[in-house]
Amino acid sequence: MRKIFMLAAANIRKAKSQTVSFLLIIVISSLLLNLGLVTMLNYSNNFDKKYTELNSAHIWQVMNNSIYKDEYYNYVKNLKGVTETEKRDVLYFKGSFTFGKSDIEQNIVLFDADNKNKISKVSYIDKLDKLPADAIFLPYIMKAGGKLKLGEHFTIERGKTKHVFTVAGFYEEMNTGTINTQLIGFILPHNEWMELKETTGDKLDGTMLLSRVNDKEQGKRISSEIYNHIIANLDVQQTATIQELDYETLKLARTTTANMGTSVIILFSLVITLVSLIVIRFRIRNSIETDINNIGALKAVGYTSKQLIKSFLVQFSGTALLASLFGGILSLFALPVLKEGYSAQTGIIWNQGFDAKSFIISIAFIVLITVLVSFQSARKIKKLEPITALRNGITTHSFKRNYLPLDKSKGSVNYLLSMKTMLHNTRQNIMIVVIIAAICFISVFALVIYYNMVVNDKAFVDVIAGEYSNASLMLDNDNYNSHLIEQIGENSQVRKVIYYDSVSALYNNNETFNIYVTKDFSVTENKKCYDGRDPIHDNEIALNGYLAGNLKKKIGDTITVRLGKKSSEYLITGLMQTANGSAYDSELTAAGFKRICSSYKPMNIFVYLKKGTNTKLFLKDIQNEYGNYIKSIQNSDEMKESMLNVFVQIITLTAYVIILITAAIIALILFLVIKTLVIRNRQEFGIKKAIGFTTRQLVFQLSLSFLPIAALGSVIGGVIGYLGINPLLTIMMRSMGIMKMNFIIQPVTLIILCLAICIFTYIVASLVSLRIRKISAVSLISE
């Protein structure tokens, strides 16, 4: 056994730099595989784990006490499937606050800190020891995403009233601890809460019903049933103030962006692992082939094949074990970055420490593969007679075709010789093409996501946010002004104004869905239909494709929609995609909606501003001029920015990391390949030098020989990326109601990326092949 270790150690010493680059590739892939596995195995459960831990509600409704009746509570409690219900007194209003750099308008619930929650418990993360008089506790997202700190001021604007608080703590809460739904909750210490309740009279008083159900898949249905029951006797304006949500919708809203991030990580780790497998195989095979002489000598002095095979196994699996352990340990340091990124988006802490399962799986996987590949390559040693090995044994190369005969082909000698070199290494070329294609694909993926979320987010916002205007105004029902839209339209900064409402109704007789209502869909900017068209006539409807699929409906079928006691049948003219309201969306024209709601009057005005207009200043003017008619104003630009901002950071980071790792992998692989090539073809280089080729010419020839391969690989990767990214994203996002991702992929960017990969390959190849310099013509003779 000692002999085997000695042999292995000697082999490693002989190929120090190759061993190091081999090590590095395994470190990188083990690092990523660990992160990917940890994410895959644990992150997706995290939400549900927390949910159970905090005994969070599966369905919840909140409304002002002007609407609430105690009968609702009894109704919910006794509903089939509901296991537990809690009624909570809250303060409930529409208000705005600052998140990150922007103002967000939300439905806000203020909880009393002394409330004993049986359902939807709160878990404090940090808390000031001494509470200030104006203390407020905020959900963790305000810290992770909103970058607020303990002791800082936090202002909530409610109409013209400003409430200023001091941040006294952060907590996790599943149902209302997010900015990604229409509802956010904050907690006030009991005395403050009571004081606010008293000073505002009964205006803000509200009730929240929180329930758990025995089958959370049924949550959405049960929630619809409750909502349906509540709104049965209310008018549209009243129902608009009720907020109701369920587990599924919430999970979607809170985890979408993080899921996108995790899928990138998982995809990336898989590709890199694949790449490193190819490299492991290449490295082992070549090392054994170049060692063949040595092997012959060892056999001649009496080493058995078994001993030699074992020494290779020890050498490679030892390195692999070491490297993958190291990568695994590194992943522990990378994990906090990942965790922070995820919680900045979800507002849920991911308490992931060392995960033995992922650690062991990834290391075992890499080592096992290494052992298999080493064994498979080393097996040849058995068949090798010492004497053939000594005579350079199994010819590693048997040349069959003289590609590009110099006397007949056109081109300079340097060019022709480099193409010859290339054509003689088919096996290795295929490997490089596959690797570069895979890596290029991942880079394209990262770039496309980066471009569509950071540089030009239109496509992403289209999908995530639906119809998007720079600002929206909600009309005051008590002081309704039907001419406001025309007045605002006359403003010189305004490009376009439309009514655009989002209302709820029922389909299938008892299930709630969301309906976008506007007069004329042809003037909207977000084309939601990926198949068919938006409704034009009053008997037409467009339906979310995912929902339509569930209902087994297609274009041309009809669907019955009901609101209160009125129902009507509509013809499906289009299938649409939207993510914000999950999959439960539809579109009706204003005339169409009036068939089930004759009292409908448009409540929301979407304002599209001319380029370069400052939305904030514009809205200030509007507020001053028309404030009386407006109940609330939303600066969508700011809102969008704040929602995207946390995301932008992690995407930018991911893009950089991916590009960096891509470069590192290309460099490492070229290093391995060229180093092997130079060692193997020492004699050839020596001869060429002897007959008068300069080092510079040889370096040029060798580097050039990699250029077509890099080009082919990157073009393949680029094309797969170009054609494949949107379908891939669509598959990834299908359950979020996105049926067709339309991320913009700029051919120019692709071309630049491919060029960059080629140039990078060429430069790295040149640098690595500089070691040809060390080969001297005379070394031929002294060998």
Binding site: D407, E684, K688, K689, G692, T694, T695, A777, L780, I781
Partner: protein, 254 residues
């Protein structure tokens, strides 16, 4: 006697190898002149430093100390790339192990060398064909890979490669060392022929039959020149010449 134009000369040429701490002085203060048009033969026992000398002379290796003058140029201080350019223009090489490039056809081996100093492919192919027929290498051998040739054929192909640039000097390091006598004779005939056409040859050998071809024999022993022997140009079957060489070598202790 030919016109004594010095084409290559060394002054106090030293070459030292260090092998794991110990210094091995292979060439020791060697002064040597090689004359244009000569067929110079370097003899000596194995390990005497013949090859080392040959490669220093041809600019393939750099001397440790001393100077080398090649056709009026001082080359001992030149960079490797400059030396490469010098070699491709002025030198041809024939090695014992032939050292053709395995990865390409015989013709390509020759053309690749030719293209280094001449861009005119047509011309190169023409002179390659002429040289091939001179060494009596058949047309269907040109497209073969080196590994498909016999030792003698390969060595003749090697000579064609050495000659393709019409070099001033051809350096040959035991060109017949690995060949049987029949193949060896053919190779020597070609070299003799080349020398008759005016090109200089410097050949290392330790074989009497090969040495006979030269008109100047230099004997190397432990890195110094022990003596030299001048003969007339080679004529086959010249007994006197043969005797003279034998006597010389005997004196040298060969």
């Amino acid at each position: 006697m030919l016109m004594s134009n010095v084409i290559l000369s060394t002054t106090k040429l030293c070459k030292t190898f260090s092998n794991g701490g110990t210094q091995q002085h292979v060439l020791k203060n060697l002064d040597l002149e090689i004359f244009d048009g000569d067929f110079t033969v370097i003899m000596g026992s194995s390990g005497a430093g013949k090859s080392t000398l040959l490669y220093a002379l041809s600019g393939m290796d750099k001397p440790t100390l001393g100077k080398i003058n090649f056709a009026g140029q001082e080359i001992s201080g030149m960079s490797n790339d400059k030396l490469a350019v010098l070699r491709r223009k002025n030198c041809g090489f024939v090695f014992q192990q032939v050292y053709l490039l395995d990865s390409m056809s015989v013709m390509d081996n020759v053309v690749a060398a030719g293209l280094l100093s001449n861009k005119n492919k047509k011309q190169i192919v023409q002179s390659a064909e002429k040289l091939f027929s001179m060494v009596e290498l058949k047309r269907n051998d040109w497209v073969k890979f080196p590994s498909q040739l016999s030792g003698g054929e390969a060595q003749r192909a090697g000579i064609v490669r050495a000659l393709i640039n019409n070099p001033k000097i051809v350096f040959a390091d035991e060109p017949t060392g690995a060949l049987n006598s029949m193949y060896g004779k053919a190779v020597l005939d070609v070299l003799t022929n080349v020398n008759m056409n005016g090109q200089s040859i410097v050949m290392v050998t330790h074989d009497l039959n090969s040495a006979r071809r030269g008109n100047r024999i230099i004997y190397l022993k432990d890195g110094v020149i022990c003596g030299e022997c001048k003969l007339g140009k080679y004529v086959s079957g010249d007994r006197d010449r043969h005797e003279k060489l034998r006597t010389f070598l005997a004196e040298m202790g060969w």
